[in-house]
Amino acid sequence: MVKKKEEQIPKYIIIDHEADIGLEIYGKNLEELFINAAEGLFHLIIEGDDIRPEKGKRIKIEKDGELLVNFLNELLYLWDTEGFIPKEFSIKIEDETVKGSVIGGLFDPNRFKVKQEIKAVTYHSFSLTEEKGTFKARIILDV
């Protein structure tokens, strides 16, 4: 397991499994949890952190199944069609909708290495809970 620590609570932990990969994600609020999930997802996809603020995207995703799964699959879509790598989010989650914007860079083979293809974020064993002010989610990815 690979751990990334920020103070006491890690941003995310990679769940390692024979066929697929998952993430256990933490956040002090839903917004932070969503941003940490995006960071975890792209940590699995690419190597290299020189993400330049090249492009801005407006985000409005409504809940259709699970909001976190919808949000991450939207980021996978932008990655697959444009090579977009998110860097800075400014998002608000209200009424089961994520709204806001994200600034990010575009994939450049000179600055990044692709680690693996993530086909999708699945609903298998999905969970999102809150305990003592900490939000925790679990997602399984299809690779």
């Binding site: 397991m1 690979v2 990679i14 390692d16 499994h17 024979e18 066929a19 697929d20 990969i21 996809i45 259709d64 199944g65 919808n70 699959n73 879509y77 990655w79 697959d80 069609t81 090579g83 994939f107 290495k113 692709v114 680690k115 693996q116 293809e117 086909k119 999708a120 699945t122 609903y123 298998h124 064993s125 999905f126 399984i140 299809d142 690779v143």
Partner: protein, 487 residues
């Protein structure tokens, strides 16, 4: 684990049964021997076989092949058939990579003739066929209208545009075109993802591999398949790329709502589904067929570039090369097929929707859907192994029709997680190890190479032995890899 110990019982040397209990509508049958059961360890896949057995309208048994491993919702290696009136269709029972499949090309070349050229061939295949994450083709960007034609016509579209010839279509499951595809059921996002990924291999376990026939087990059948010892073969393993992933994601959202609407109790949300006959079920099948056709066209285009690369590199004409398709099989698909089922003690032949998620169709001799050449032998079944050991050519059997809705295994199945593989490869050069074995690998990403190293997989030879011994397919020949390109 507890469930597994309580309910899993040995049926014979090659099969285990999970007796119907709890909410299961049918038994679970898993094709496994003791050795492979041991490899399965604490894997949750047995529980997933049970979960599938709980879905409405399932007929026969919830089955899994010996390459079974933990999936999401359905297990990988799973086979489940559903009654057309009472049953359901589930996008999770097909998977994200719709019509991921394998195509095998045979040649008139012998290993000796190209021994010194393998490295160059692999290098040129790597240049001519885009592979890797998000691989795109700069020379083939399709308009929406053209893409719609691909989704409707499948491999036929490719042949009509000069990629291959008419005869190729005969040797593809469903002739490379699933009838009933409706491109209007495909979302804008799926089109966007699909527009420049046609003709690309993708990443992960997908590949184009040059190999040779090391051993022939059944000379008569091999002869009908056009296979002989020391013959050079090319295997292509890829699917419907981002277009398929998007369609699956789109419909899982829709099916989550549909499951609620139709009051279907889901043991796992990834099993979400809708009645086959419902508007949601039909739309999924129309969209899935569209993605399946995209995948057939994808493998057809890659076949064209494989032919071109071999002709140019070896400086021989297409006739001398003789690169023709042995067969092309889907291993992630749902299909409407006719099968015999036992109902109230009587055998009846009915139409069912067979889900094969990491399983291959294995039709027997005399099947009407097979080309004349294979009517006497049964369908060629193609089982790829890992990049370092072997792949197998098998043949469909009558017993598969009787026991498994005409299905068998699809590959090796992982034993190591990706991180375990990375750890196990520390201080090693996988590409050097492969080269020492005489296998040249070009991979777009170094991590793919590590994650895909042979030790990360079960030995495919043990998997095919189980289906052979169980009689649901027969061994015909063994292929040894010489080199491959990977994502």
């Amino acid at each position: 684990m507890e469930d597994k110990e309580i309910h899993l019982k040995k049926l014979d040397d090659n099969r285990y049964i999970v007796k119907r209990h709890g909410n299961m509508n049918v038994d679970g049958i898993i094709y496994l021997n003791e050795e492979l059961l041991h490899v399965l360890g604490t894997d949750e896949s047995i529980k997933q076989v049970e979960n599938v057995a709980c879905l409405p309208g399932i007929v026969g048994a919830s089955m899994a092949m010996p390459d079974i491993h933990w999936g999401y919702g359905f297990p990988i290696g799973g086979v489940a058939a559903f009654d057309m009136e009472m049953g359901v269709v589930s996008p999770g029972g097909v998977g994200y990579d719709i019509n991921c499949g394998v195509r095998l090309l045979r040649s008139d070349l012998r290993f000796e003739e190209i021994r010194e050229k393998v490295k160059e061939l692999i290098g040129n295949l790597y240049i001519n066929i885009p592979s890797g994450v998000g691989s795109h083709r700069k020379d083939l960007k399709l308009t929406r209208d053209e893409l719609k034609k691909v989704l409707k016509k499948g491999a036929r579209w490719a042949v009509e545009h000069g990629f291959g010839d008419q005869q190729d279509l005969e040797y593809i499951e469903d002739n490379g075109q699933i009838i009933g595809a409706d491109p209007d059921c495909v979302s804008d996002k799926a089109y966007e993802r699909g527009k420049d990924q046609l003709g690309t291999v993708g990443s992960g376990n997908h590949f184009v591999e040059i190999g040779y026939i090391k051993e022939v087990y059944d000379p008569d059948t091999a002869d009908r398949f056009g296979i002989f010892k020391d013959q050079i073969t090319v295997m292509i393993h890829t699917g419907s790329r981002g277009l398929g992933y998007q369609i699956c994601d789109d419909f899982i959202r829709e099916m989550l709502k549909a499951s609620e609407k139709y009051g279907i109790n889901l043991p796992d949300r990834q099993l979400c589904c809708a009645p086959i006959d419902s508007p949601e079920g039909k739309r999924y099948l129309f969209a899935m067929a569209s993605a399946a056709n995209y995948a057939f066209a994808n493998r057809q285009l890659i076949t064209h570039w494989v032919r071109e690369t071999l002709e140019r590199t070896l400086k021989v004409g297409s006739k001398k090369l003789g690169l023709s398709i042995v067969y092309d099989v889907c291993h992630n698909i749902a299909k409407i097929e006719r099968h015999k089922v036992v109902e109230k003690g009587k055998i009846k032949e009915i139409e069912v929707c067979v889900h094969r998620k990491g399983a291959t169709r294995a039709y027997p001799p005399e099947s009407e859907v097979l080309p004349d050449r294979y009517r006497k032998t049964g369908q060629p079944v193609l089982i790829p192994g890992d990049m370092g050991r072997a792949s197998y050519i098998m043949c469909g059997t009558k017993k598969a029709m009787e026991e498994t809705f005409g299905s068998t295994c699809h590959g090796a199945g992982r034993v190591m997680s990706r991180n375990q593989a990375i750890k196990a490869s520390k201080g090693r050069s996988i590409s050097k190890e492969m080269e020492d074995k005489g296998i040249y690998v070009r991979a777009a990403s170094k991590s793919t190479l590590v994650e895909e190293m042979p030790d990360a997989y079960k030995d495919v030879s043990k998997v095919v032995q189980v289906v052979h011994n169980a009689g649901i397919s027969r061994l015909v020949a063994k292929i040894i890899p010489l080199g491959c390109i990977k994502g």
